[in-house]
């Protein structure tokens, strides 16, 4: 019987073949994207599960390793730097290394090794003492782009450093990403957002023109075909398309695969070999998609009674009722309440929010038919004319089928709206200003109070002799302008205002002759030799906030006699640079002073600090845009498939109407109405739901800025854009109507 099924499926003429191809193509798009999502998910899981050896912090007085981890910068990228000395053999080894480097050797990640080859030594290479012994393997890296170096030392070289700890165990637990919750949420959101329209697409495709097949099933029953035989024949039909589609999807995935490697999902690229849906993913897809198609087909067959005289619904479905809106409302409540109640508590929320999101999305699907019916009633009440009558009839007769066509798109709009609302809110809350008069000024701090930054030790500031050498070295770099800031010897001598930006004891002393060289710092009061200025704003990563504090030195800044000459400790150093090479040379000099700098306070320019934030969010925005685009594409395909299906399904009545004198224009308008109407109604609801979903998240992201979410132009853009695309898709499907109802092909005997 399976052979008969295959035979019938393949021999049923060009239309059936075209249908099979459309089904296969749609399923292929769905499966291809599904596999891509799976592959990225696998890479993501693999990457976040990697041990964070950089996080090693457990001390052991008898451990075999002296461990000093710090971070450095090059060209806006962070370098993970580990200085290590082996006290006893057979100690633990950093993952990805064959052995710990011996003194005078270092291992670099491949990306850093490439960078070292391409960069003059005084900009980068001189920071790392010794010779390169090899590269770090993937086990020790999260991304092929990671800049990592592990440098071997003699124990005596490290023992004195305040950053050094003695340890017995390298951390094997993964990094507790502070941003991981956010990413996890984003990932889940994206996956759900893409998956639902994907499933709708696959479902619509396999179900395409089921009614046309039902005609055949009645004929089969008439000549004595049994139910089970019909089930087999129908399943073969569905499975054939789905199987072809699944295989095509694997092909599509193979084509997409090279692109996936470039997606910086976590802000960096994944290792290529981790991006795979795994063998089980492939096998599962090839098995599950056709199986699901068969099951969907059998379920839809169960709902009809195929008698030899034709196919009838088992029961005429009652019109959709109001309760269908309730799950949606429940989902919205579930979504909104926890975020409103505890907006600051980000920890438990993502999983919960994903659940709520799933509920909201399924809720939308459940509520859809009711909305469709309501819009049909409005249509019937407000309009006159043949096409609107036809459309209203169709909508009222089968609101479920009409809604099914637009459901994927509605979800896409909802997700699009949510994202369009979220991203600007997130960006606004992050103040990603990238300009500042201090953009090209490097800042580095030599003072760490232990009450602020608990660590292996307090760093009091750079002593005068050391500071003098450092300043002399920086002075030899052409294009570098150094402004030293000194710690006041005694606080309270020159009083700072009790409030405002200059409040607190973040004051540092600066010589006016130095400050003069960086005009953005401001001008000293006339005749002053040195002033006390507030430096607390210097360590913000928010350039807008920084700019608000500028200039640091004003005409009313307190004049002080402490001009750094009296043995004051160097607290901070500002270095204006005239270009990237100068910047890296300064950093190379500074890397000799790592012991005196907080190991996590990398020497960066203000511009770089601002860019890190901005880049992160721009990347998120880019991913979100791609995701929204793909979702829209998938939903569009789903819509096209559903509409073509519904047209083919009604080929006979439409042809009849044309034969009896109904203009094809009337039919076009009727089809357009019956699809656009639920689309508009659903979109309006989806956009509303999107805003409702986005609002609490945006609030959580930007507490205290409740107003930022509404209104944003990108809302209107997303929604209108989505609608226009859909109408275009529908319009593109209409010629099918003209073709299949061509009267010269009509046959009614």
């Amino acid at each position: 019987m399976i052979r008969v099924g295959i035979h019938l499926a393949l021999r049923s003429g060009r239309e059936a073949l075209a249908r099979l191809l459309v089904t296969a193509l749609s399923v292929a798009i769905g499966v291809g994207l599904l596999l891509s999502v799976l592959a990225m998910y696998h890479a993501y899981r693999d990457t976040i599960a990697k041990p964070c050896w950089q996080c090693t912090a457990t001390t052991d007085a008898n451990g075999p390793l002296l461990w000093s981890y710090s971070e450095d910068e090059f060209g806006g990228r962070t370098i993970d730097r580990l200085d290590v000395a082996t006290l006893k053999p057979d100690g633990p080894v950093v993952p990805g290394l064959p052995a710990m480097p011996s003194a005078g050797q270092y291992y670099a990640s491949p990306a850093l090794a490439a960078l070292l080859r391409a960069t003059p030594a005084d900009e980068l290479g001189d920071r790392f003492p010794g010779t390169m012994a090899g590269t770090i393997g993937a086990a020790g890296l999260q991304s092929p782009d990671d800049l990592v170096v592990v440098i071997g030392h003699r124990p005596a070289e490290l023992a004195a450093s305040p950053h050094t700890l003695r340890t017995a165990a390298i951390q094997t637990a993964p990094r507790g990403l502070s941003t991981s919750a956010f990413y996890q949420f984003g990932f889940a959101l994206g996956a759900v957002a893409l998956l639902v329209p994907l499933l709708v697409l696959i479902g619509n495709a396999t179900r395409m023109a089921a009614a046309r097949r039902e005609e055949r099933y009645a004929a089969i029953r008439l000549v004595g075909g049994e139910r089970s035989q019909i089930n087999v024949i129908a399943s073969v039909d569905a499975v054939l398309g789905a199987l072809l589609g699944a295989l095509g999807g694997i092909g599509l995935y193979a084509a997409l695969r090279p692109l996936l490697g470039h997606i910086p999902l976590l802000g960096f690229r994944f290792f290529d070999d981790t991006i795979t849906p795994t063998v089980w993913g492939f096998v599962g897809t090839v098995l599950a998609v056709p199986a699901a198609a068969a099951v969907a087909c059998l379920v839809s067959l169960r709902r009809v009674r195929i008698s030899p005289l034709g196919v009838t619904r088992r029961v005429t479905p009652p019109p959709p009722r109001f309760w269908r809106v309730l799950p949606l409302l429940a989902g919205l409540a579930l979504f909104t309440i926890p975020l409103v109640i505890a907006p600051a508590d980000g920890r438990g929320t993502p999983g919960f929010a994903v659940l709520a999101l799933v509920l909201v999305m399924t809720g939308l699907m459940i509520a859809g038919p009711w909305l469709t019916m309501m819009s049909a009633r409005l249509l019937a009440r407000w309009t006159v004319g043949g096409s609107s009558l036809l459309a209203a009839r169709r909508l009222a007769d089968n609101p479920r089928a009409s809604f099914r066509a637009v459901s994927g798109l509605m979800l896409a709009v909802m997700v699009g709206t949510t994202l369009a609302a979220l991203v600007p809110a997130a960006l606004a809350s992050q103040d990603t200003t990238r300009t500042s008069p201090l953009r090209d000024v490097l800042r580095v701090g030599f003072f760490v109070g232990d009450q602020e930054k608990p660590g292996p030790g307090t760093i009091p500031g750079l002593p005068p002799e050391k500071a003098a050498t450092l300043l002399a070295k920086v002075a030899t770099i052409p294009g570098a302008v150094a402004v030293p800031l000194y710690r006041p010897a005694r606080t309270g001598q020159a009083e700072l205002p009790a409030d405002g930006p200059l409040a607190g004891d973040g004051g540092v002393d600066v010589r006016c002759s130095d400050a003069h060289r960086l005009p953005a710092l401001g001008a000293c009061p006339a005749g002053a030799g040195a002033v006390r200025m507030d430096a607390s704003a210097m360590y913000t990563d928010n350039l807008r906030a920084l700019n608000e504090y500028l200039p640091f030195i004003r005409s009313d800044s307190p004049v002080t006699a402490e001009d750094g000459s009296g043995g004051q400790l160097l607290s901070d150093l500002l270095v204006g640079v005239d270009g990237p090479a100068t910047l890296e040379r300064v950093r190379t000099v500074l890397s000799g002073y790592r012991d005196d700098i907080d190991s996590f306070e990398m020497p960066m320019t203000f511009g770089e600090v601002g860019d890190v934030r901005a880049r992160l969010f721009l990347e998120i925005q880019r991913i979100v845009t791609v995701l929204a685009g793909v979702t829209l594409l998938v939903a569009g395909c789903g819509l096209a498939v559903a509409i073509s299906g519904s047209l083919v399904e009604r080929k006979r009545p439409f042809t009849l109407m044309r034969v009896t004198g109904t203009g094809v224009g009337t039919l076009y308008r009727a089809v357009l109405l019956e699809t656009v109407l639920p689309l508009v109604a659903a979109t309006a609801v989806a956009a509303g739901v999107g805003v409702t979903v986005a609002y609490p998240i945006a609030r959580a992201l930007a507490p205290g800025r409740h107003g930022v979410v509404l209104p944003h132009p990108s809302y209107a853009l997303t929604v209108t854009g989505g609608l226009l695309v859909s109408v275009a898709i529908i319009a593109a499907c209409l010629p099918v109507l003209g073709r299949i109802t061509a009267t010269e092909k009509a046959r009614f005997e």
Binding site: R212, E215, I220, G224, E226, Q229, E749
Partner: protein, 225 residues
């Protein structure tokens, strides 16, 4: 000894009573015409006799067995092996070719593909359809499609052919030709026919005529030939 026998059938659709106490019998090899006005219950009677509908009351006996108590499965098997059908239109699968349609019942019975198609093809010359085997049935003329339907109904060698207005959608000349071919063939095959029609000229092909009115057989019908 009649091959098919109905006694006192009643059948209602909701409030509509389609049959109320209809009885008839069909002899082996006999062509029986069922006449009557529109809505009188002719088609319903035919569907009950063919096991497509189960009557609310009354009995249908085929080959000595009670049909009305058979399971759907067994009635399906009967349709496949012992009955053939020709309706006014629409009983062919439009997107399949003519020969596919004729071979379909054989394929469903589990016959080998080559054998099924060979057997199906052998019917085309007999019904004047030579050369049309590969046509899709949507692309045939009405008379051709009805002849394909006859071929499909007879290909399994049924004992009874149920024909409901087989020429109803055809002009009189074409209808006449289809009837001639059909009658010649069933006589050659010695198949009994239950022929529902309201056209006296079509009924004239039958051995015997009965009339249905308001769900009852009011005229058991004399043998015409």
């Amino acid at each position: 000894m009649s091959i098919l026998y109905a006694n006192d059938l009643t059948k209602s659709f909701g409030a509509t009573v389609a049959l109320q106490g209809a009885s008839l019998s069909l002899e082996p090899g006999e062509i029986l015409a069922v006449m009557g006005p529109s809505g009188s219950g002719k088609s319903t009677l035919l569907y009950c006799l063919a096991g497509i509908f189960t009557p609310d009351d009354g009995t249908v006996t085929f080959g000595g067995r009670r049909m009305d108590s058979l399971s759907d499965r067994e009635r399906t098997r009967l349709r496949r092996t012992a009955f053939g059908f020709v309706f006014q239109f629409g009983q062919l699968v439009p997107e399949l070719t003519a020969v596919d349609n004729v071979a379909l019942p054989l394929l469903l019975s589990g016959k080998r593909r080559t054998a099924a198609y060979e057997q199906a093809r052998s019917w085309f010359p007999r019904l004047g359809l030579t050369g049309l085997e590969g046509r899709r049935t949507g692309e045939l003329s009405g008379g051709q499609a009805q002849r394909v339907a006859v071929a499909r109904a007879l290909v399994t060698g049924p004992e009874v052919l149920f024909a409901d207005e087989p020429t109803g959608a055809l002009d009189s000349l074409t209808g006449e030709m289809v009837m001639d071919l059909m009658v010649d063939t069933v006589r050659a095959e010695h198949t009994s026919v239950l022929l529902v029609t309201h056209d006296a000229r079509v009924a004239a092909h039958a051995d015997r005529q009965i009339t249905v009115r308001d769900g009852q057989v009011i005229d058991a019908g004399a043998r015409v030939r």
